[in-house]
């Protein structure tokens, strides 16, 4: 059975957690950093994604901490989550490689620089 591709916010959340357990605000800042500021998660989107990923067994609660009198719950990637992220990375790499090969064949480098028209 084919596995559906991950949506970008989900992919970025799993990528953020691949570096180690993080709390909600930590995930948001890391996702912004990973995406060069292009993806700015908001709380509603983040917690809908976390709820789904937890239900699917891809992430789990790690620990709770109190910082400045407020609760911070840390999330971590499960083995299933790491496997799912690895499969997605492999899928994206294969697609990127295929696109790069075809661009090279068409005389365009993957960085958008033309080698020169014939």
């Amino acid at each position: 059975m084919t596995v559906r591709s991950l949506q970008e916010p989900t992919f970025l959340i799993l990528t953020a957690l691949a570096a180690g357990p993080k709390h909600g605000y930590g995930i948001i800042t890391d996702v912004t950093r990973i995406s060069d500021g292009r993806v700015r998660l908001r709380a509603g989107t983040l917690y809908a994604a976390l709820d789904r990923l937890h239900a699917d067994g891809l992430i789990d609660f790690d620990r709770d901490e109190i910082a400045n009198g407020r609760l911070r719950r840390y999330y971590r990637l499960t083995d299933a989550g790491a496997g799912r992220l690895a499969a997605e990375v492999d899928r994206l790499r294969r697609h990127a490689n295929a696109a790069a090969r075809r661009l090279r064949a068409a005389g365009v480098t993957p960085y958008g620089l033309a080698r020169g028209a014939a």
Partner: protein, 298 residues
């Protein structure tokens, strides 16, 4: 507690209680961490995002409860059968559309509404069988909303069936699952049976193409809906089939009830039976839902 925090907490009430019990404190922490220093009100984008997130979580939690209680197969059966019935109920609208085309005085809005009434449910059925479940569910709710506003002639009893179909498409694994549970032969046989009875009853009781001509398919729906109950004991999934039949019983009885009120030709004993069956079907539906523990879980 700051004014902004209090306002965020008020917004978070839209989330399911179980979700709030686990996540409210950390969500407030995230919302306050991402807020501007002097911010006093939740931004419009944050508010919209929280409402969208709450909708997704409500939907997932409801689907989880339905799955745990064994309701998903029953709703999948309802999804396919209710759509077949609604396709057949839309057949008389095709006749009205044909008559409208022949009468140039009819407004363009009437053309659009009648065309929608004819095509909506067949298109939704095709979408749901093509595994476009989300698209089919959205289209079903739109069709239900439009028909409730535009077609007073169709009546509230058909609306109940439309709402049931839209709910089944939203919360079930999809109509394809319903076909898999019942078997393709049974579904085709059901569709053919309803069509034949509908044609016969329309010929027998309706004169020309009129709102009353809805009644033929309506009574056919009713008869075949109860036929489903007769089959349940012999199927592999009797619980799912019984629940589906009882869910369908109320709108089908209401449709038949409407048929009786529109046609003087219906014998008195049939009319009397339906007067009894209408409350009985509601009672059976409530008992089934309660016995399954769904009400208690909610």
């Amino acid at each position: 507690m700051s004014t902004l925090e209090r306002r965020y907490r008020r917004l978070l009430v839209v989330y399911p209680r179980a979700h709030r019990a686990i996540h409210e404190e950390e969500m407030v922490e995230v919302l306050l961490s991402t807020a501007a220093p002097e911010q006093r009100w939740p931004s419009i984008r944050d508010t919209a995002d929280l409402i969208r997130g709450a909708r997704l979580i409500w939907l997932r939690h409801l689907q989880l409860v339905l799955r745990q209680q064994g309701w998903t197969d029953a709703l999948a059966i309802v999804a396919i059968l209710a759509q077949i019935l609604l396709c057949l109920i839309s057949v008389p609208a095709a006749g009205l559309l044909l008559r409208a085309v022949l009468e140039p005085t009819v407004s363009w809005l009437t053309y659009i509404l009648l065309t929608g009434a004819v095509l909506a449910w067949p298109v939704i059925l095709v979408l749901s069988l093509a595994n476009q479940k989300q698209l089919a569910a959205v289209a079903a709710w739109v069709a239900t909303a439009v028909s409730s506003l535009a077609f007073s002639v169709q009546g509230q009893e058909v609306l109940a069936l439309e709402v049931l179909a839209a709910m089944a498409l939203t919360f079930s694994p999809g109509a394809s699952r319903g076909v898999a549970v019942l078997g393709r032969t049974y579904v085709l046989g059901y569709a053919a049976g309803v069509l034949l009875v509908a044609v016969f009853l329309t010929e027998r009781f309706a004169e020309g193409l009129s709102p009353q001509s809805m009644a033929g398919p309506a009574l056919a729906c009713y008869l075949f809906g109860w036929l489903l109950i007769g089959r349940t004991a012999f199927r592999l999934r009797p619980t799912a089939n019984r629940r589906a039949a009882i869910l369908l019983a109320f709108p089908l009885t209401a449709i038949a009830f409407s048929f009786v009120s529109l046609n003087d030709a219906v014998p008195y004993h049939v009319s009397s039976l339906l007067h009894v069956l209408l409350p009985v079907s509601v009672f059976l539906g409530l008992v089934t839902v309660e016995r399954a523990g769904f009400i208690r879980q909610r």
